[in-house]
Symmetry: C2
């Protein structure tokens, strides 16, 4: 299939979507794009066809990819005026690579499937670097045949590709990922701050802990950022807040208690209150450090 020239659509060409779409184009596929802002020059130079609406993308392409900021954006692009749904016809496919609500995703998938089309949710992790290097982790929800249909295209954009389960399960895995990342950051922050306040060298403590049961990718990478005080993103706190909001609002619907996710979200909010929405998420440690100094008003 990857040797065959396909008609692909891509809607949402930001810092993630742009390079991801570029990989599809460079593999020899035809690319139809639409975006709220401007389609990047490198896509236009390599022959991407600009469309006036999401509907037009869905009319031209057989498989339409989305990479949008949040749930309402995806809903609008799919089902709004001149949206994807108005341009789809039977046998086409929608691949949503945005990170959005797993619950809304199940609804979107049902509505698209009712039109005789495949719907695959496939959120990613790995950030801008992963997008540029075609090294994204991709967590996929959808039918087995839907997954198989898109798999060769995923392989152009990512490395660690897992078919997690049915519609929405890709989004669920992504939310689970973001819960663990936030809470492991919080764990490392509490531990290294404790070590420092108790008079030990947090860098030595991190080193002592690296081989044992406390070891994690977050202790390795974000622990070092906390010690070296390098809080340039990385991954911005405001984006992680969006992801934890997905976790907490879905948990509320599901009747599920996530006490430490709620606590981590409050610590992020504390950073934002101090001007930190653009800080790297490892700066959560600042909220723990600074609590004694916070002032009302």
């Amino acid at each position: 299939m990857s040797s065959q020239k396909l008609k692909l659509g891509f809607i949402g060409l930001g810092i993630m979507g742009g390079p991801m779409a570029h990989h599809l184009l460079k593999a020899g596929h035809q690319l139809f794009t639409h975006t709220r802002s401007k389609t990047p020059d490198y896509l236009q130079q390599d022959g991407a066809v600009l469309c006036a609406s999401a509907m037009e993308v869905a009319q031209q392409a057989d498989i339409v990819f989305l990479m949008l900021p949040d749930t309402p954006d995806v809903e609008l692009v799919l089902f709004g005026e001149n949206g994807v749904a108005q341009g789809l016809s039977k046998g086409k496919a929608v691949v949503d690579m945005s990170s959005i609500s797993p619950i809304a995703t199940k609804d979107f998938a049902q509505r698209i499937a009712a039109m005789g089309c495949d719907y695959v949710d496939a959120p990613v992790s790995g950030g801008e670097v992963g997008a540029k290097n075609a090294a994204l982790t991709i967590m996929v929800g959808g039918t087995p045949s839907g997954f198989e249909r898109i798999q060769p295209l995923f392989e152009l954009m990512g490395k660690n590709i897992t078919h997690v389960g049915g519609h929405g399960d890709g989004q669920t895995a992504k939310v689970a990922n973001q819960i663990i990342v936030a809470l492991n950051i919080e764990a490392v922050a509490e531990a290294l701050l404790f070590a420092a306040r108790a008079g030990a060298d947090p860098a030595k403590v991190r080193q002592a802990l690296m081989g044992g049961f406390a070891s994690s990718r977050i202790l390795e990478v974000h622990g070092e950022r906390m010690i070296k005080r390098t809080f340039d993103p990385g991954f911005r706190i405001e984006l992680h807040q969006k992801d934890l909001n997905l976790a907490l609002s879905a948990a509320r619907s599901l009747g599920l208690s996530l006490p430490n996710t709620a606590s981590a979200q409050q610590l992020f909010s504390s950073c934002v209150a101090h001007g930190g929405k653009g800080w790297d998420h490892s700066a959560m440690v600042k909220a723990l450090e600074g609590m004694a100094n916070f002032e009302m008003g």
Copy 2:
């Protein structure tokens, strides 16, 4: 030094101390022991000399190891009637391998150092298996000369040996370790429970997350225990509660906020309230699962 036959003491010969002392004995050193219960047969058969008190151990041995349950036990054995301090003389050394308060440790170290002796705190992780296989992780606090003096003996008991810093810093590192382990367990519990309640297969979600930023030793080992429902210890909840109590009481003294450590401690307490003090610490997930079903009274 390890080819030289030393006079060593070992106080506290439980499931950890017993095998640790045995490694010292098998390396050819003389071993003087004292314990509240019974010195294990394998130590007696291999020539350990049983002493009537901690004081007598300190009179006979040049380097006295302790492996005791908690801070008050160490204080009593060191400074109580017929305790170690009464038997020490200038130039001897005390090596506390128990996991106890870093703050109390600084005080104990100062009092022992004032007698002209070395004091080294060297708590371990790796559990009974690590103790038996001489594969413990050892986190060491003390002077550089104190550390160097004991290092060849640590190498008989462990593999990953780090000189973290001055007196108490070994205990501080151990507390930091236990904070991260508890909070990473909590993180994995929230994430996998979220995934399951949202309708995904938690085993598939764990697999999708293993290569990325959510990866940790806890996701690997304890995540699997949660999925397979194997909650036999492992590491008992009541022991982890002791460690988190050290973290929380030291944090109170230091004026430091550890919100998620406090929350994890409450979840452990919830397990204990349901008969789970002997469950493996990964069973913390049960507290999150069961909250909707708890009844008052």
